[in-house]
Amino acid sequence: MPGAAGSLGPVSASITVGVVTFPGSLDDRDAARAVRAAGVQVIRLWHGDADLHGVDAVVLPGGFSYGDYLRGGAIARFSSVVGEIVAAAGAGLPVLGICNGFQVLCEAHLLPGALVRNAGLRFVCRDQVLAVENPSTSWTNQYAAGEQILIPIKHGEGRYVADAVVLDELEQSGRVVFRYVGDNPNGALNNIAGIANEAGNVVGLMPHPEHAIDELTGPSSDGLTMFASLLKALVAA
């Protein structure tokens, strides 16, 4: 909803979102572009930063941080900037982890569970229908409950797994934020595409909303709503 975002222009002028770059981050420029498209200023954060430069929210972008040869996010998790983010997230800072960012959030234990090799053992790039299961997080408040959106996925390690207790807890507390509709592209348990922490300020998902901000370069503009939601949450706060 670029319109809605735009109409909040004056207020949003003072709001900034940090987009993190690790060596090996790939969709960081794209995430920054998407945040700006929602009418919000961007501050680029470097993996070595021990300070979040006062940003009002953080996006951990897609890519292969440090190569991710071991496990997605396993090394990025130890960077200075992630240390800062973990602390700030505990105090309510909105954080969105996209793809590799989601992996980092799980490795850093800001979100439960893990993302493992796709069941099909191959990298998958396709346009995926998702259902928005929880429209009340900082990153989804502009979606309707159950709304179906079309967002690209592109990953080789996106299969969400967690033990039965955690899964149950996620489902009971409505913390499954996005679910794959139709073919499950990676074998994720319960078709989980994205989840939130208890407070709902930290959200991680495998699909790439930053690649669905206009029909010219993406399959839809459905992803823009995620960044418009953030703006709404920040302005309301």
Partner: protein, 735 residues
């Protein structure tokens, strides 16, 4: 001869080549020098068999104000306006990919990306053209799985969108798959870099990975002789790619360029440091002193010959003014990229390499880089074979006539490995990263916007039909260029320049050299006729198993520009009720066609007539129609003819069509006459008129809509049945 003979033959040098080295030096070369001449004068590095033929590309090049840097540099550079330029090139990594499919393909992508980076450009997209043996053959699955995963694994981890390519199957590639990778990059004019070591006293800095025993002698050994498994000792250690290291190298080098910190830069590819030192020195002030012991090694026990011929990946060589060295090292530190001072630029006119103080190399760099041997290889058209092939036309093959038989044929062809959906391959490639992809698979051409703050974009297509080239190398090469040219025109773009990867058998076989001479002659002529110069490319010889060579396979990439990417034209039918219009003329041309091959396993006769004037008019029409917003979709007619084009266009968005065929149904549906496309439009009258103005024959075929492809009075094919046939094949074959 009192002294012991030197092992020049083992290094791939011929007697006369060794004699030339003795003359050049006026003495026996040191072992290290001999090894350097061996790799630098190898077919792969010196182009000794192809040089005399490739000249035509420059000599007969059409004048083009767009061309900023032509053949000779790491890649050609083309002006696209707004002070921006584009550089692109396609390169082969065939032999390494047969030895180790995943790493061979991966490092093939890594290598071409460094070529583009070396020009000062940010790489913005890749494409790949792949050829395998028969899809059902025992070893094909291993190669397909490994090579596709390798292309994807490296490109995805590098953050470069893959925007198109091709996959082909033919028995002649069974022992010799083709992996051709293309990369395109963008640069502001003033960031153009050259591979020169200029400025006496300037410092030579090695960037990136440590040097190991990877692919020692790889270029000369693997790509410059017929590969036989009997000599495993000849096999160099396989190069393993580290895409993360390359990603860091890209960001690091671009910051170095933007800060104006380097005066020259060269990527390390075939022949490794030997090539980088020799070429930068030869094209600079002519002198360089290298202290080889300073090169960071993965294995301490490596000796000078190994260090100089290692093909370890993810390395670049930078020439830096002394005042800037500290800044360069600091920037590399920031990115965690290794950077080491290894030498200085001198005015001695000689490349001197020392090893712990001892001189191991002292040569004129040009003698390595530019004075390699040049061969006029014997050329002989294999008359018997070629005449027999030409005589064996497809006319005698039984043709389907009834609606039922035609329906069956369309279905079987759509499901054949030859023509079926490439989704199984292309879904393994990230086409979204960088956020500028406007068209990609399965559309005819890939289109990317070249910056966030511009509406300008480029279109690229890559095509290389080896069967047409087998029937007639001259016309076949021209038809490949025509198809790539047509594919970008269908996207609504203006073709500007050409890159080519010429995959052939052994140049020591006069029949193969005939194919090569014919193909290059045809390509040069066609580039002139279409006004699109060759800006760079690559030659891959010795693609043969034993005595049998692959089909001659000139893979052609065409670069085009769009002023406004929003005007790009997709290949799929858009909505119900669009008029379907056929552009171009259809003759009875089925020799070498997909129909002959898929339905009858037949290859013979004459390829379709080349119609370069018609291609030009068609492209002009498509461009104009796109600019005027007159066409909703455009799809070129190539392999499989009209039938396959309609099937593909219908399946992209699941919008069917009802068409009627004019004249003989079989010919209309399956002929592969050149210079044709189908377009859909809301305003048929306007389009027909515009076609008239451009002198392009245009015929109404029908309208889009429904959930079937209906050919009036002949047959219906439901989209579900078609999709199942079209999509099912590769997954069933390759898992």
């Amino acid at each position: 001869m009192t002294e012991v003979a030197q092992p020049f033959a083992e290094l791939g040098l011929k007697d006369d080549e060794y004699q030339r080295i003795l003359e050049i030096l006026g003495r026996r070369p040191t072992d290290t020098e001999l090894a350097m001449y061996g790799v630098m004068w190898s077919e792969h590095c010196s182009y000794k068999s192809s040089k005399v033929h490739l000249r035509q590309f420059a000599d007969n090049a059409p004048s083009s104000e767009a061309m900023l840097v032509g053949i000779g540099e790491n890649a050609g550079v083309v002006d696209v306006g707004d002070g921006l330029a584009v550089t692109f090139k396609v390169e082969s990594h065939n032999h390494p990919s047969y030895v180790e499919p995943y790493q061979g393909a991966a490092t093939g992508v890594g290598g071409i990306v460094r070529d583009i980076l070396t020009m000062g450009a940010r790489p913005i997209a890749v494409m790949d053209s792949l050829r395998f043996g028969e899809a059902e053959a025992p070893d094909t699955k291993r190669l397909v799985q490994g090579i596709v995963a390798g292309v994807g694994g490296y490109g995805n981890c590098l953050g470069l969108p893959n925007i198109g390519g091709e996959v082909g199957f033919d028995p002649t590639y069974a022992g010799n798959p083709l992996v051709n990778a293309l990369c395109v990059g963008v640069l502001p004019h003033d960031r153009l870099q050259l591979a020169q070591a200029k400025g006496t006293g300037n410092v030579v800095i090695l960037l990136g990975a440590k040097t190991g025993r990877d692919g020692i002698g790889g270029a000369s050994v693997l790509a410059s002789a017929t590969f036989d498994d009997e000599s495993p000792t000849k096999r160099p250690a396989v190069q393993v790619g580290d895409p993360f290291a390359e990603k860091v190298l890209i960001e690091c080098c671009l910051e170095l360029f933007d800060a104006g910190l380097v005066t020259g830069i060269q990527d390390l590819g075939a022949a490794g440091l030997s090539c980088a030192f020799a070429e930068t020195a030869a094209h600079g002030d002519g002198g360089m002193h290298v202290e080889l012991e300073k090169v960071p090694l993965r294995e301490a026990s490596m000796v000078p010959v190994e260090i100089l011929t290692s093909e370890s990946q993810e390395r670049m060589l930078a020439i830096v003014e002394p005042a800037n060295v500290a800044a360069v090292l600091a920037l590399c530190e920031k990115w965690g990229a290794l950077a080491t001072v290894v030498g200085t630029v001198t005015d001695t006119g000689r490349l001197v390499i020392t090893w712990h103080g001892e001189t191991v190399v002292d040569v004129v760099p040009g003698s390595l880089a530019d004075d390699g041997p040049v061969y006029h290889r014997p050329i002989q058209r294999p008359d018997l074979e070629q005449d027999a092939l030409a005589a064996d036309s497809s006319a005698s093959l039984p043709r389907p006539s009834t609606g039922e038989a035609l329906r069956e044929t369309v279905l079987r062809m759509a499901a054949s490995p030859e023509l079926c959906s490439r989704r199984w391959v292309t879904e393994q490639y990230d086409r979204y990263v960088m956020g500028g992809t406007v068209l990609a698979m399965p559309h005819d051409g890939g289109v990317v916007r070249i910056g966030d703050d511009t509406s300008r974009g480029i279109a690229l297509a890559l095509d290389g039909n080896g069967r047409f080239a087998k029937l007639d190398p001259h016309d076949g090469a021209q038809l490949n260029l025509a198809e790539a040219y047509r594919n970008v025109a269908c996207a609504g773009a203006t073709p500007l320049a050409v890159t080519d990867c010429l995959n052939f058998g052994s140049p020591e076989d006069p029949a193969v050299m005939w194919q090569f001479a014919e193909a290059t002659r045809g390509l040069a002529e066609a580039c002139r006729a279409l006004g699109t110069p060759v800006t760079g490319g690559n030659v891959s010889f010795y693609n043969q198993t034993g005595a049998t060579a692959i089909n001659p396979t000139p893979v052609i990439g065409v670069l085009a520009v769009l002023d406004d990417v929003a005007k790009r034209v997709p290949s799929g039918f858009g909505r119900e009720g669009e008029h379907v219009i056929a552009l171009g003329e259809t003759a009875d041309e089925l020799d070498g066609s997909a129909w002959a091959w898929v339905m009858h396993g037949h290859l013979g006769g004459r390829p379709p007539a080349v119609r370069l004037d018609a291609e030009r008019s068609l492209a002009a029409l498509l461009r104009r129609a796109a600019a005027d917003g007159l066409v909703a979709s455009a799809h070129d007619l190539s392999e499989g003819g009209l039938a396959q084009a309609v099937v593909e266009a219908a399946l992209i968005n699941g919008v069917g069509a009802t068409i009627e065929v004019i004249g003989d149904p079989f010919t209309s549906l399956f002929s592969e006459s050149a210079a044709r496309a189908i377009v859909t439009t809301d305003d048929a009258e306007a389009l027909l008129a515009l076609a008239g103005e451009h002198g392009v024959p245009a015929t109404r075929l029908g309208v889009t809509g429904g959930d079937a492809v209906v050919v009036s009075d002949l047959f219906d094919l439901g989209l579900d049945e078609l999709r199942a046939a079209f999509e099912g094949t590769l997954p069933a074959l390759f898992g």
